[in-house]
Amino acid sequence: MGHKPRFKKSARIGAALAAMTSLVAAWGIPATAASTKTFKVAYMVPGNLGDLGFFDSGEKGITWAHQRLGAIVKTVQGTTDTSQWTPDLKAVSGQGYNVVVTGSSQVAQDLQAVAKQFPAQHYIMFDDDVAAPNVASIVYLQNDGAFLAGVLSALVTTHTKQFPLSKGSDVVGIVGGMNIPVIRDFVVGFVKGAHVVNPKIKVLTSYVGSFTDPQTGYNQAIEMYNQGADAIFAAAGGSGLGVLKASAHVNRYSIGVDSNQNGLYPKNVLASDLKNVDVSVFDLLKLAKAGTLKYNHQYVYGLSNNGIALLLNNKLVPKSISNALAAYSAKVTSGKVNVPCVPPYCLSASK
């Protein structure tokens, strides 16, 4: 006797929930019914294309979806006017697109709000985690990218023939923006990369204390070059531009981050540590088309699933070195080398 009413109650709740879900699903029908045959994708860029990095890479993934999945695609540039992003996201939501793609942590809040207003619209969010039942997120393992930068720096200081500006000092450096977990995650990856090549290599570390202070970045880099560093990795946002300038000033090597900075000082910037937004976005779009994309789920991209890469400056980095880099990268992929991490960024790559 005691069980029955309780069962009934839970059944009633279950029925109500089912009704609600079907209601939500019904709400979504106009948006998806037309698109059962065609796969339509919209890309909202919270910024501008033409950054030669992050957003352009996303656009490449969208183009692949068009070419290889036969998707109908549309790109909206939100410009850097942040107040425009929410309206732009709304403008492409509920318009019959199977998936709306956007990315960068700056747009996360806008998406969080818009995704709630359009529960039937599916979204792919890259480079930040948005927890919502209709959003699939992509995050990247920065320690993997920093690992490759560490390997390249170590190869620079140990291969003076291939890198004529290198003194062979066995000293490399990393300048971080702030002493916070995400940057320390870069640092541990970088140190590991350098030591995988040669454990005797000395790694200098410093933090600028700001992401927008290129002068201090410059000063710290100059000091590292004075201490013999042959290559410095700038994991410091805008402050890192001062690091790259310092490398040009002393005529040694540096490695950029986040966007393609190879052209800034083409004789000195060896590579840029980039997220392969293209690969990850295309992967998820493929899953979305097949109907197997998991929403409210975080997809993690690192070296093992080709989500991170060093964009090399081919005029400075010879083929033999890029092959060596690929070999070290393969060691991570095969699990022979474990790249250390700093919590809460200790995730393992998806699949």
Partner: protein
Amino acid sequence: MNTLGQIFNNSLWSFVVLDTTTILLAALGGAFTQQANILNVALDGMMLIGAFAGIAVGAATHSIAIAVLASIGAGLVLSLLFGWASLWLGADFIVAGIGIGLLTSGLSVFLLERLYHSEGSYTPTTFPNLPAIHLGPLVHIPVIGPALEGQSILVVVAILLVPFCHWVLYHTRFGTHVRAVGEDEAAVVAAGLRPRRIKMGAVLISGALCGLAGAELAMGTLDQFVSGMTAGRGFIALAAIFVGRATPVGTFVGALVFGFASAIANQLQQVLNLPSNLLFMVPYIATVVVLLSRPVLAAYRLKRKARQGPEVYAGA
């Protein structure tokens, strides 16, 4: 001993000069407004716009002289706005100053976006160099030689401005008026002068010198603009003014304290591997200590005098 040698190496002195110069230029400008009894929190913003204008104009014209003039001009335009809003329209100095700061950080990003389609920074591919100091054989003078060798000409300008500002403030009619308007505005009015005009003069000087500070920051070594690149230097300049009680020489000492502290903090981080988050406080702690030392010393002297004799009443 070896570690000490590593910290006090030649590059330390050049970093001290680099870190001091931008702050000094802005602080000398701020000394004028401070003397005129205006708390100028717009220093940072005027510096930022000076940096932007210098890089934008230098990249377009390939002339460093025009670039520096553009920096000064941009600082002047903003100070005109600051002065107009506060002196003519009666806005509170602090509110107007904060407004200038917000305006410049937004405006510079907006212009970056419109002109260069880039959100955070602009690095011109070629940029004219500021003339550099070359000391020749004098480079072997300890400390001063390595500190100045290869620095931009604006470093010399900043150093020469210290006695010049002193002269203007204490040995010219205009300087006397500025100090008078700061001390007692009513007396200035009674003397038949126009305090608003005098204050505007001080505001314009602060704008020009902050523009110059921006020029040194963007073009001294970097030749690039990064949004928010002043990183609070304008506010440190304000602290330097307080340390130096708004006298040019005292302000110079204040700027030097901060420049030295931040340079040494960087060295300590790299040489001794001390925790960076602690070291970031060093320049600010140094500023606070210097600010506090004066009243503490004064109180101590007062006490000693009080113990010695009764003439202290005259001062109290």
